[in-house]
Structure formats: C-alpha cells, structure tokens
C-alpha cells in the first residue's frame, strides 16, 4: 500500500521511466528465485523417492540382486544389472548409492523397468505421456470452458430458475466419481446407443500417421474418455467460477463501471477478467496433475496413458517404473506451479507490484 497521501506537491514528483526498469528487474529477480525454489523442490522429492524405495519392506533392490544370483548370474554381472535397473546397488553404502542415483537422474536416466524387462523407464513414460496429454488436457480444457461459462451465467442469474438449474448441475456432476461417470458413459454410448467405439485409443485397422483415417479414429475414440473426464471435473470449475463471479460482482468497481455508463460488454470484460484470476492457478495446477493420468478413466477405456502405466507398475511391483512415474508427476506439478506463478505476475499487476 502507498501511504495516505502526503501534501500535493510531494505526490507529483514522479517515478517516471526508472520505475518500469526497476519493475522489470524485480520480475527477473523473482523469476530467478522461483526457478531455484523449483529445482530445490524437485531435488527434495527425488531424495524422498530414493529413500522411500530404499526403505520399502523387502528391499526391492536387494531382492532384484538376489533374484539374479539365484538365476545363476555371476555376482559381478548381477551387481551391474541391478545398477542399471535402479541406478544404485544396496551393497554400497547408502550415501554413495544416493550419489549415483542423483548422478543418473541429472542425466535424465530413470533406470530400467522390471516388468517390461530391458525397456528404459524414460522410454515407457515418454510413450505413454502423449495419450494422457490428449485425454486429460482436452478434458481439462473442455471442462474449464464449460464450467467457467456456466459458472458465470449461474452467478449473474443466481436468482432465476436457470441459475438454480446450473448450480444443481454443478453440485450433481461434482458428486459423481470419475469411474462411475466413465462406466456410465461407456455403457450408454457404446452399448445402449453404439455411437462411439469402445477401448483402445485408435482402430487397429488404420495405420498410425498423418492420415485422415488415423486422426478420425483417434478423435472418435477419445470423445468418451475426454467427456468422462470433462463432466467429472466440470462441477468444480462451475462452482468455483460462480462464487468468484458473485464476489467480484459485489466489488465497488463493478458498481462504479455501471454508474459511469460503461458498455455492458466492457462491464462484462471487467468482471470476467477479475473473476477468472483466482481460477488460473488451479488450472495450471490441474494441468500439472494431468501427468498423473486419470487412472480410472484410462482403465475403463483401456487408454495406454500414464495412469495406466502407474497402475501397472504398482501391481507388478516395478519400483523403478513407479518412482520414475512419481517423479514425472512431481516435476510436472512443480513446473506448472512455477508457470502459474509467472502467469499470475503477467496478468495481475498487484502481484507485479509486490516484487519491487
């Protein structure tokens, strides 16, 4: 806050062009601090993951080593293979194990999967990621758009039937668990009314590539899972947007805009931009969480995304794959948080002001 106004003369001594440069400097310093904080957080999570895997009952690394020995692999060979899988071996002291794990991590080496023997975790994760991105990103965006529009209308018309109806739709859909929504949609639209294909991300008769048949098949297969996702997260967006718009509508500047005779469209823009502000952080975060995949929906629709991979790695006790997937989710969330922060600095001048 600027202190209560001093005598007029003192106020008119401007800050001029220097202010802008100082502001930019502030943003740069802030950005630097954020990036460092993000790196520290990623390191902390990686460390936690390492010690968690290390502390798991039955010591999977030791088990792996001993399994290889019992298969008649010579100890030196077994040690080497275990190291390839986990990035460290339990024969060495914990500190040096930790050191070599971090070293591998810096080189983006997440080790090798156990259940998909010989395949690197990075490869598995990278090939599953696009499916999740298609599914969850479209789901997030569709639900965000629908929810924000419906929420705004529900807020403006909150005393009318339409407003009530929209609010009820939000609460209701918010209450339906994802897997119920997925099963429901699958049952209605593939069994009762077979409009959409079921299972597999595309028809196996088409050749993957930049051809219409493949892309069309991708889209028709994605419609149901995307809508299952969108409908189950629509309610959250809708209700948040509604309460945000209601609170902005009560702000003085909205009445001021009306009393100054601003165009209805301009007034709407003022309200919308202010109401959307708090939702942006949540949007960025949910894009980060997207890399956790959507376990239930991917499972119901047999979608080979990250959720699917995570589920498979847990049931197969594939620890390298598990920790790799977890790490990816973490990094994605931290990065999207960072992005949200930067975005906020761009769209909210008040946050920008705090930097200087």
């Amino acid at each position: 806050m600027v202190p209560a106004s001093p005598p007029i003369a003192a106020q008119s001594t401007g800050r001029g062009a220097g202010a802008r440069r100082r502001r930019l400097k502030g943003v740069a310093r802030r950005l630097g601090a954020r990036i460092v904080a993000a790196l520290v957080m990623i390191w902390a999570v990686a460390t936690l993951t390492f010690f968690l895997v290390h502390a798991l009952p039955g010591n999977p690394v030791q088990v792996q080593y001993e399994t290889l020995i019992s298969h008649g692999v010579p100890p030196a060979q077994a040690l080497k293979e275990t190291r390839i899988i986990y990035g460290f071996v339990s024969h060495e002291p914990v500190v040096s194990q930790y050191g070599s794990y971090l070293w591998q991590l810096i080189h983006l080496n997440l080790g090798k999967s156990i259940s998909y023997s010989g395949v690197s975790v990075s490869h598995l994760v990278l090939s599953a990621a696009p499916w999740t991105v298609i599914l969850v990103l479209s789901g997030v965006l569709v639900s965000f758009l629908l929810g924000v529009l419906a929420g705004a209308v529900a807020a403006v018309r909150r005393t009318s039937k339409l407003g009530d109806l929209l609010s009820v739709s939000g609460s209701l859909l918010h209450g339906i668990p994802q897997f119920v929504m997925a099963v429901l949609l699958a049952y209605v639209f593939t069994t009762l009314l077979p409009v959409f294909p079921f299972g597999a991300p595309y028809n196996i008769t088409v050749t993957p590539g930049w051809n219409l048949g493949y892309i069309g098949s991708l889209v028709t297969h994605a419609v149901l899972p995307v809508f299952a996702y969108a409908l189950s997260s629509y309610g959250g967006w809708m209700l948040s947007m509604k309460s945000s718009v209601v609170s902005v509508l009560g702000d003085d500047f909205v009445l001021a805009a009306e009393l100054r005779g601003l165009k209805p469209l301009t007034q709407l823009r003022y309200v919308a931009r202010n109401a959307l502000l708090p939702l942006f952080t949540v949007l960025a975060l949910s894009i980060g969480f997207m890399f956790g995949g959507s376990i239930f929906i991917e499972d119901v629709f047999d979608y080979p995304g990250l959720g699917h991979l995570l589920l498979a790695s847990i049931s197969a006790r594939d620890y390298p794959l598990m920790s790799g997937t977890f790490l990816l989710i973490t990094v994605a969330v931290i990065l999207s948080n960072l992005l949200a922060d930067l975005l906020y600095t761009l769209i909210d001048p008040r946050v920008r002001g705090q930097a200087s």
Binding site: V2, A4, Q11, D252, F253, A256, L259, R260, P349, R350
Partner: protein
C-alpha cells in the same frame, strides 16, 4: 466564492416547475425496499433541486437514506430497492427514472458524474487508469477516444496529480487521496453537468481532505456544475455548501442556505446534530451525543414525524399527523409541527425542500 441561490427558484413561488431551471430536479421521490418484513420506504416523498452553480450539502446519519437518494439520481437504486413514485428530471434530458438501456447509460457518466468514497475502490484493479479512461470514452461514443486522455491529463494536473504517472498507474499504486481525485477526473472528463460526491472526505486525512474540497470548489465554479456533497460531516458542509439539506429516515426535515441552517436551525434534529459536534477549542463534554438510536428501515414510523421518538420536544400531534413543510425564512424550510406555529408561513405547494 459562495453563491447564494436566488430565492425565487427554490421556495414558495409556485412557478418553480415552469420557470427556466438548469440542473437536476427531484420531485416526490419515493424509494421502497422489498424485504421479508414487507415493503419499507427508504426515501419518501423527497423534493430537491440541484441547481447549476450551487453546491448542495446532503447531510444525515448513516441509514438516513442519503446514499440511496444519490443512487436514485442516476436511476441506479440497488435491488431489492426500487423507485415507486416521483421523478428525477435533468434539464435538457428529461425524467431519468424513465430512461432505460442505452439512453440511461449515456446519462450516467456523461451528464451525471458520481464520485465514490476514497475508501472505495472504484477502478478495475487489473487495468491502468489511462486504459480505463479510454474504455469510458469508447462507451460514450467519443469520436476520438484518445483526445479524452489530454482532457484527463489537464484535470489531473489541476488536482495536483502527476498526470503521466497517474494515467499509467494501476489503482493499487495510488493513495486514497489520489484515488479520490482520479474518481473526480472520471466524473468530469466527459463534461458532466451534475457532480455527485459520496462522502468525499471519509478515509482522507485533513490535508488531502482540504485539497480535494478546494479543487472541487474551483472546478464547480468554473464549469457552473450542479454539485451535491453527501456527508455526515457538518464541517464539510459548512466549508463547501451553498445550501444544506438535512435528511432523517429518508425524509428531508430541513433545507436552506448554509448560513441560515447552521445559525438558525429550525428542526430539532438539525439542532441536535449541530450540538453533537465537538469543538477543537473547547471542552469535549460540551458536545452532546444524539440520544436514541439512528433509524433503521424496519422501525421508521409510517405515520407522523419520523424523528419523534428521539425528539426532546415531541407533542402528541407528532405521532398522528405528518408534519407539513413550512417556510421559516427566505429559502429556508422545515418539516416540523413546532415550526408550523403561528409565526411560520404555511407552504403553498407540497414542496418539502428545494
């Protein structure tokens, strides 16, 4: 500095409505709030003239309906309130309470400038002041919106603001006093004819307060505005206003030239209000607080004098008959049974105040 309004325009001439009048004229205005307890009148049967070249002080406690009255002048009574009777006529425009849509929008901001309290945030926090001025210009169909920035700059400089800096600032970068002055710029930049200041000194320190009032007075005189200052602060009225209108529970109880009302207050409420002000050079205990509680909508009596419950001079008639408005001097009127005694001249018209 101060201009006394001509007597004829205000009271008892009976020709008030036909004679050439420049400014905003409120007649028989009644505003009702629909609540669970039924329809409650926040403002009842108010007559008020805001004449060009005159600063009117609208005084009353919180809850006296003065802000509702001010919003009604822009036909912007907040729901669940609504205007049930009366008119707000702007010279050259017509009855504002009948305007809708685009016509109403153009009057707001274009003809009637409303200035918010300094403690209120009347600007969009996400846009620079200059950009919002451009929005204002575009909304009002100004042919070359950019030209408005030059006008805004001149007004800013007038008010002792660093115009370049203010126009490129966001609201949170401005102090309360600066925000208020920016609010005045927004109200005047389109050449409004009526300036409505809502509690212009609340949340301001004494220095900013004096500076803001000084500037308002100057621009008022230059542009021959019809200015109304809504306040609970008698000191502001004494300093600024040519005329005072005292409201209580949504009725106008007294009106007149500032000097007359302050020196010869005719209504018991006005007198009590004046006695309740502490003096800087004097014993604080000399100031007498007003006994009783300020009125709230649900407890306002519908028949008789609205002030009788707190009035030290109340008579039996006060709870039975609405007091008529009587003239107690040139341009000075009050709605009190006591004033309607043998010395007072009865009002010919139904005007309460003017």
């Amino acid at each position: 500095m101060r201009r006394r309004p001509s007597r004829a325009a205000h009271l008892g001439s009976g020709a008030g409505d036909t004679e050439e009048f420049e400014g905003l004229r409120v007649r028989g205005l009644t505003i009702v709030y629909g609540t669970e307890a039924g329809e409650l009148a926040a403002v009842r049967q108010v007559d008020l003239d805001l004449q060009a070249g005159t600063i009117t002080g609208l005084v009353g406690e919180s809850g006296s309906g003065k802000s509702t009255l001010a919003l009604a002048m822009l036909n912007a009574v907040p729901s669940p309130g609504r205007i049930t009777a009366g008119s707000v006529t702007m010279s050259g425009i017509g009855d504002i309470t009948r305007l809708r849509g685009r016509a109403l929008r153009e009057v707001r901001g274009g003809v009637l400038g409303y200035v918010f309290q300094a403690s209120q945030n009347s600007l969009n926090p996400l846009k620079r002041v200059g950009a919002q001025l451009l929005d204002l210009a575009r909304s009002h169909g100004v042919p070359q919106p950019r030209l408005i920035l030059g006008e805004a700059q001149r007004l800013c400089e007038r008010m002792g603001l660093d115009a370049t800096r203010v126009l490129s600032s966001y609201q949170h970068e401005l102090s309360g006093g600066m925000r208020q002055r920016v609010g005045i710029v927004f109200a005047l930049v389109l050449n409004a004819k009526v300036l409505i200041l809502d509690e212009p000194t609340t949340a301001l320190d004494m220095l900013s307060q004096a500076a803001v009032l000084q500037v308002v007075r100057e621009i008022h005189a230059e542009r021959r505005l019809a200015t109304v200052v809504i306040t609970h602060d008698i000191a502001v009225v004494a300093e600024m206003a040519d005329r005072v209108v005292v409201t209580y529970a949504g009725r106008i109880v007294e009106s007149g030239a500032t000097g007359d009302v302050l020196r010869h207050a005719a209504h018991p409420y006005t007198r009590a209000l004046l006695r309740s002000i502490p003096r800087i050079s004097g014993d604080i205990s000399a100031a007498e607080p007003l006994p009783g509680r300020p009125p709230d909508l649900a407890s306002i009596p519908t028949v008789g004098c609205v002030f009788r419950a707190r009035c030290p001079l109340a008579l039996p008639i006060c709870s039975e008959v609405d007091p008529a408005t009587v003239s107690v001097g040139p341009g000075h009127a009050t709605a009190c049974h006591l004033a309607a005694g043998p010395l007072a001249v009865p009002e010919r018209t139904e005007e309460v105040a003017g």
